[in-house]
């Protein structure tokens, strides 16, 4: 009795990790994904997990699930059947967007606008106007509204987003329209902007609402089907879904507001990284999740990830609170090539998982970053316990051809490709660190994903970081992360008030209203009252600034006390983010009140490493090439043979079932009691 199963659905494979709560034993496996009916691979994953861990269906205690279904619906441009209802005068809102053209100066001459989510003729205006203070200037007109809906339906619309001006300040018009549609057209999918994102800035709110209703048919339907098939017994099984805010909610909640599932893929991995780093004694970390085509990085302080409301899915803004993750288009599959001017480039094209790097022998013909690691002796001859034989000769031949055009040796080119790849990662990492006033040197890196262990120290070198943590089973950290996630919901309300004119009671009442809603909702998710935490956050700025900073309020402060703290603490947060503040000199403005309601979940026990084991000895050596030093015979270790507390000096290579950790000269590698490897820089000189 007592098996929890976590299922992380990706584009190609679905990762499953089951943990037995009595023994702490975990079982990991993969099943192929079924994009047409995502519930199918989910059910199959559960069945396999039960079978392989020796449990019966009745032993299943909880199912946790992360999925890219929502994200894929957007990336694949499945925009058919979408309609939008807006305030009169604003029909062109989506066409106009924010008028901005990306990249360089003058690109507007040649840049082409990306496809819109909804064509202009399926955007209809309705009468009714709310003002900025929430008062009503003009009432809605039910007849005209239903006429607009009827025309949309006649034109093939099945999903309707409603975004009226200032609905964040007064949602009564949107709510009334929502009721009208539900009565007349119960089969339509509808999303109201005041429910999806009660925050000001109409274009971004409309886009977020459109995305929400766009993914609803996919998410709501398959989650509902899966839940029905899983709960055929007498008790309803807790079925929790990962959101982009790094927390889980019940499938019913997720289906009602599926926009929160977008970009949730990397969020679970971050929860896993936080958990393993905490076991290793590190609370301030940089997560470095290197996959085949891309790398996700995020900054974590005091075990708390940063959040953003500036996320984009492809060209489309999504403003619901998300873990602040930067995705870099570079990974183990990034292709090395020479452009027509003779410059050596790495990426952005990637060999991906199919055909993959040349050394995988699955038909890849372009030299990749992984092939460079192969040429340099950093990878073994086989991966996954021999299931994947690697072809070193083919990789060498490819680098021989690449080297020819540069008059350099193949290994020198391969080492250079790794250096360029590391630099490309560094540019992305600066966007979550220095670009936010953070010094990467103050954080430990948690390197995971299939290729994290290959580059962690190279990237750390560039950034002046001294510690790299490699968690066990780094390729499965997402599924583990599902097991260590809390139930979480976010609430926001816009309340733009200058400090000098603000009425404390008004703000405090609004904030406590959000907190009460949060508490009630988390209780409804089945969490005991003593496990609920309410975190308040204020979005604030100096009057005139265009971006807000988020000021966290310490737990225990509420109402007027929380507000007083926010006014005071703002200056320090601003200083930390931007390097200056104007305390006592400039007026402060409140913009949004936020509440995060968290229901703490019990962490599963994980079986620790065997403390009685003798220290690992090298199982062999292999020549490994290092830039500046050349070929060096390096000892090879099996990760599972490390005894807790054992430390070895680089250069060496540590191999395990699914990945490889490279330890260069100037770094030590120590194992902890939780099977983490902690790499520490020992050399004096720090390059940044």
């Amino acid at each position: 009795m007592g098996l929890t199963v976590a299922i992380d659905t990706g584009g190609t494979f679905t990762d499953v990790v089951a943990i037995d709560h009595r023994t702490g034993q975990s079982t990991a496996l993969k099943v192929p994904s079924t994009p047409r009916d995502p519930s199918q691979s989910l059910i199959e994953g559960v069945g396999r997990a039960l079978a392989e861990s020796g449990h019966a269906a009745g032993d299943l205690r909880m199912l946790l699930h992360g999925s890219t279904v929502a994200t894929n619906a957007v990336l694949e441009h499945r925009f058919d059947g979408l309609g939008l209802i807006v305030t009169r005068g604003f029909r062109h809102m989506i066409e106009i967007a924010r008028q901005s053209v990306p990249d360089g100066y003058g690109n507007s001459f040649f840049w082409v606008k990306p496809p819109r989510l909804v064509p202009l003729h399926l955007v209809h205006e309705v009468p009714g106007r709310i003002l900025a203070d929430g008062s009503e200037l003009e009432p809605i007109d039910p007849e005209a509204t239903l006429q607009a809906v009827a025309e949309l339906v006649e034109d093939g619309v099945r999903c309707i987003a409603v975004c009226l001006l200032h609905a964040y300040a007064n949602d009564s018009h949107e709510a009334a329209i929502g009721r009208l549609i539900a009565e007349r057209y119960p089969d339509l999918f509808v999303s109201l902007s005041s429910v999806v994102l009660p925050e000001y800035r109409e274009y971004e709110r409309a886009m977020t609402t459109l995305i929400d209703v766009l993914v609803k048919p996919y998410c709501k339907t398959y989650l509902g089907e899966a839940a029905a098939r899983l709960s055929e017994g007498p008790n309803e099984l807790p079925f929790l879904i990962m959101q982009s805010n790094g927390g889980v909610v019940t499938h019913a909640t997720a289906g009602e507001k599926p926009v929160t599932m977008l970009l949730s893929g990397p969020a679970a991995g971050i929860q896993g990284a936080i958990h393993m780093a905490q076991l290793a004694g590190h609370d301030d970390i940089l997560t470095f999740d290197v996959g085949g085509t891309s790398t996700d990085v995020a900054i974590i302080e005091d075990r708390t990830p940063a959040f953003t409301s500036e996320a984009m899915v492809e060209h489309y803004p999504v403003k619901t609170p998300m873990l602040d993750i930067v995705t870099i288009g570079a990974g183990g599959g990034s292709i090395a090539w020479t452009d027509s001017y003779g410059s050596l480039k790495v990426g952005p094209q990637s060999a991906g998982a199919d055909p993959g790097p040349i050394c995988y022998g699955r038909g890849g013909t372009e030299p990749t970053v992984t092939d460079a690691a192969m040429v340099l002796g950093r990878l073994p001859d086989a991966l996954i316990g021999g299931a994947l034989q690697l072809d070193r000769k083919a990789a060498q031949a490819a680098f021989g051809r690449l080297a020819g055009s540069h008059a350099m040796s193949p290994e020198e080119i391969a080492a250079g490709v790794l250096e360029i790849a590391a630099a490309n990662q560094v540019f992305g990492i600066r966007r979550v660190t220095t670009a936010r006033g953070r010094d990467p040197g103050a954080y430990a890196m948690v390197a995971f994903g299939g290729a994290g262990g290959l580059f962690g120290t190279d990237v750390a070198d560039f950034l002046g970081m001294r510690t790299v943590i490699s968690p066990p089973d780094p390729g499965n950290l997402c599924a583990l992360g599902l097991h260590v996630s809390d139930v979480r919901r976010d609430y926001i309300t816009t309340m733009v008030r200058l400090q000098s004119q603000a009425e404390a009671e008004e703000i405090a009442a609004a904030w406590e209203g959000l907190a009460e809603r949060g508490r009630a909702d988390i209780l409804a998710e089945g969490i005991a009252p003593d496990r609920i935490a309410i975190n308040r956050i204020a979005d604030m700025r100096y009057f005139g600034e265009g971006h807000e900073v988020q000021v966290p309020i310490p737990e225990g402060l509420s109402g007027a006390e929380a507000l007083a703290h926010a006014w005071k603490a703002f200056h320090g947060v601003h200083d930390r983010s931007f390097g200056f503040h104007y305390e006592g000199r400039q007026e402060v403005e409140m913009v949004n009140l936020r509440v995060q309601a968290v229901g703490r979940q019990a962490r599963p026990p994980l079986a620790p490493a065997d403390s009685g084991r003798p220290p690992a000895a090298p199982f062999g050596t292999r020549p490994v090439y290092w830039r500046g030093t050349g070929w060096t015979d390096c000892p090879l270790y099996h990760r599972n043979e490390f005894a807790p507390g054992q430390s070895v000096a680089g250069p060496c290579i540590v191999e395990e079932y699914g990945s490889t950790v490279v330890v260069p000269a100037g770094w030590d590698c120590a194992a902890d009691a939780h099977r983490n490897l902690i790499l520490t820089r020992t050399a004096e000189e720090v390059q940044s």
Partner: protein, 634 residues
């Protein structure tokens, strides 16, 4: 990897990492400015530019044009540049042609590795207010520089790390928005400092010699890209064009022509602006004629990117100092619009900025069989200001985009601005902050110039004033439209009007800042549409019907300009293919071969009134140029 590194000679690896770092640093500096600046003009409209330079003042970054470093050398000299210095200026007549109008305050930091100067990091931004006779510091009736705001010749705002308090207080005291200005300066200096750290880190990692060798290579590569990918697409020869500023805010009924003659040879492009009209009395001049036009050449060169193999490739091409290898300019004698005499007003010099791109692009159209985008005019500012006291004072200003040009590969984008990432203000923000009500946010129907690929649409925005305001409009193209290319038609023009409470609409000149708007009155702002590209009779009927269904064009335009036989069935527009083919054939026959350029009916009217006059030795640049039918040719 060895942690103790010896300097390495420049190889492909070092070059790629150094070039990548410079590109990433440019983005990082931009992000820092955007996050911390205070003026909406900088923060939302993104009217700021950043750049990194080498020790000789050559621009290394390539996403954008920038100001220049030459004033540091000219006014201070090599022995007066020290770590911790911050150079600062905004004076259009004392910045080597690198700053065009006084609201642009330019901050420049030298970058040192030890004692050695290795480069410069620079940010300039368009600040909300720097004094002068009108809030926003762009008075349309100014007749000299001194009316436009406080003028700052190159100074050290910081001298070896110490703030020049006196200068700082004088400068901020002269702004109506002192806090904004102070905040912006902090933001710009902070951002430039961040950029300089990246260059220092490269020097530490690879050594100064390797770094400087990489700088040389980066500039040489850019020149080579233009030589190999762009210049061969332009037929050698001599081409000329002209276009106009319609009003200078001071002298009525006068066109001000910018004229250029382009000479293309296999290795180079020479742009000779001889023939340009005399300097204006009002604030539309642009003082450029210094240091071999290095600023102006870097401003113009990016236009060439439209001739790259694809829009994606165009976006990859840097325009750094390397472009000076392929582009030269020749200035006319002192006393013209782009060579004004000392102290002539320059506030609205952005009209000439856009016009200079337009005349260059038109010469390229002639030299490429019409393969360039049509005209794209976008920088104009409108706003409302009011308040009886300093506390009540408000300045609501927007830089609204216009329709982008039709191009061979796509319709013009709607309401875009040439400044990257320049954003409009959300109605919900504006109504929360200012005493206004946004009643309509729309695209202007039929404003995009018709074409095989039509121009993008401009705005049709209506705003109700809730208190008494003063209207500001700093706009050109309020009479003439953006020209169309290769058979495409001109776009619609800018218009600003006030609709009183009875519904009577009064149109005001594009250059206005003395109009009072009473509570309850509405301001209507219509921005220009982009020029069309290619023959509208060749546009796919389905696209015409779609635009009509969306309400973006009228039934009249669909029939009379596009020649599509449309009819309404219920709520849906349809067209009859056979009738359309007939109609188009008839229209094509009666019309004949379309011209290479269309400047619209307003231009024809001005010409008829004798207002378009050519100087001696200058012929009508439109005459004798017909559209090229690429579909028939292929």
């Amino acid at each position: 990897m060895n942690v103790q590194r010896k300097p390495r000679a420049l190889g492909p690896i070092e070059l790629e990492v150094i070039h990548g770092t410079i590109r990433a640093a440019e983005l990082e500096i931009e992000a820092a400015v955007e996050r911390t600046a205070r003026s909406p003009m900088i923060r939302d409209q993104h009217d700021y530019r950043v750049a990194l330079f080498d020790a000789k003042g050559r621009k290394l970054t390539g996403r954008s044009y920038s100001a220049i470093v030459e004033p540091v050398f000219e006014y201070f000299g090599a022995d007066d540049i020290h770590p911790g210095d911050v150079f600062f200026w905004n004076d259009p007549y004392n910045s080597c042609g690198g700053i065009g109008h006084v609201p642009d305050l330019c901050t420049t930091l030298p970058i040192f590795h030890g004692e050695r100067l290795i480069g410069f990091s620079q940010v300039f931004g368009h600040h909300d207010d720097i004094g002068g006779s009108v809030p926003g510091s762009l008075p349309v009736h100014a007749t000299d520089s001194w009316m436009e705001g406080v003028l700052i010749p190159p100074i050290k705002l910081y001298d070896r790390g110490r703030l020049n308090q006196a200068a700082f207080r004088i400068i901020t005291r002269n702004s109506r928005l002192e806090d904004h200005l102070a905040g912006d300066l902090d933001a710009e200096i902070g951002a430039a400092t961040l950029g300089s750290r990246r260059i220092v880190a490269l020097a530490e990692r690879y050594g100064v010699e390797t770094l400087e060798a990489a700088f040389e290579q980066i500039l040489a590569n850019t020149a080579e890209i233009f030589r190999r990918e762009i210049l061969p697409n332009i037929v050698d020869g001599v081409y000329s064009y002209e276009d106009y500023i319609e009003a200078d805010g001071v002298e009525p009924d006068k066109l001000h022509a910018l004229r250029v003659t382009m000479t293309k040879t296999p290795e180079k492009i020479l742009l000779d602006f001889t023939g340009t009209d005399p300097e204006a009395k009002g604030p539309i001049n642009w003082a450029l004629d210094e240091v071999e036009g290095r600023y102006f050449r870097k401003w113009l060169a990016p236009v060439l990117r439209s001739l790259a193999a694809s829009p994606e490739r165009a976006a990859e091409i840097d325009s750094n100092e390397g472009v000076l290898e392929v582009i030269d300019v020749k200035f006319p004698d002192k006393g013209t619009l782009i060579t004004p005499r000392y102290g002539k007003p320059t506030g609205m010099r952005f009209f000439l900025m856009l016009r200079s791109l337009g005349v260059f692009a038109a010469c390229l159209s002639k030299a490429t069989g019409g393969r360039m985008p049509a005209d794209h005019e976008t920088i104009r500012i409108w706003g409302l200001t009011g308040g009886q006291t300093r506390e009540e004072f408000f300045l609501f200003r927007e830089v609204l985009g216009g329709g982008g040009p039709g191009r061979p590969w796509a319709d013009g984008s709607d309401v875009v601005h040439i400044v990257p990432n320049s954003r409009n203000l959300p109605a919900e923000f504006s109504e929360t902050r200012y005493p206004i009500l946004v009643e309509q946010l729309a695209l202007k129907r039929d404003s995009g110039g018709a074409g095989f690929r039509r121009g993008g649409f401009g705005y049709d925005k209506r705003i109700r004033a809730l208190v008494e305001c003063r209207l500001i409009s700093n706009a050109d193209r309020s009479i003439l439209g953006c020209y169309g290319v290769n058979g495409g038609l001109a776009g619609g023009s800018y218009g600003i009007s006030v609709i009183d409470v009875d519904g009577t609409e009064t149109v005001h000149p594009g250059m206005s800042d003395t109009v009072t708007v009473r509570p309850g009155e509405r301001v209507r702002v219509v921005t220009s549409g982009g020029g069309g590209w290619g023959d509208p009779l060749l546009r796919e009927p389905a696209r015409v019907v779609y635009d009509l269904q969306c309400g973006l064009i009228t039934e009249t335009a669909a029939r009379e300009i596009y020649g599509v036989d449309v009819r309404l069935e219920g709520r849906h527009w349809r067209h009859d293919p056979a009738a359309t083919a007939d109609r188009r054939a008839r229209m094509a026959t009666s019309r004949g071969r379309p011209p290479m350029f269309d400047r619209g009916s307003a231009h024809a009217a001005l010409k008829a009134r004798g207002m378009v006059r050519f100087p001696e030795g200058w012929a009508d640049p439109d005459a004798g140029w017909d559209a090229v039918d690429h579909m028939a040719a292929e």
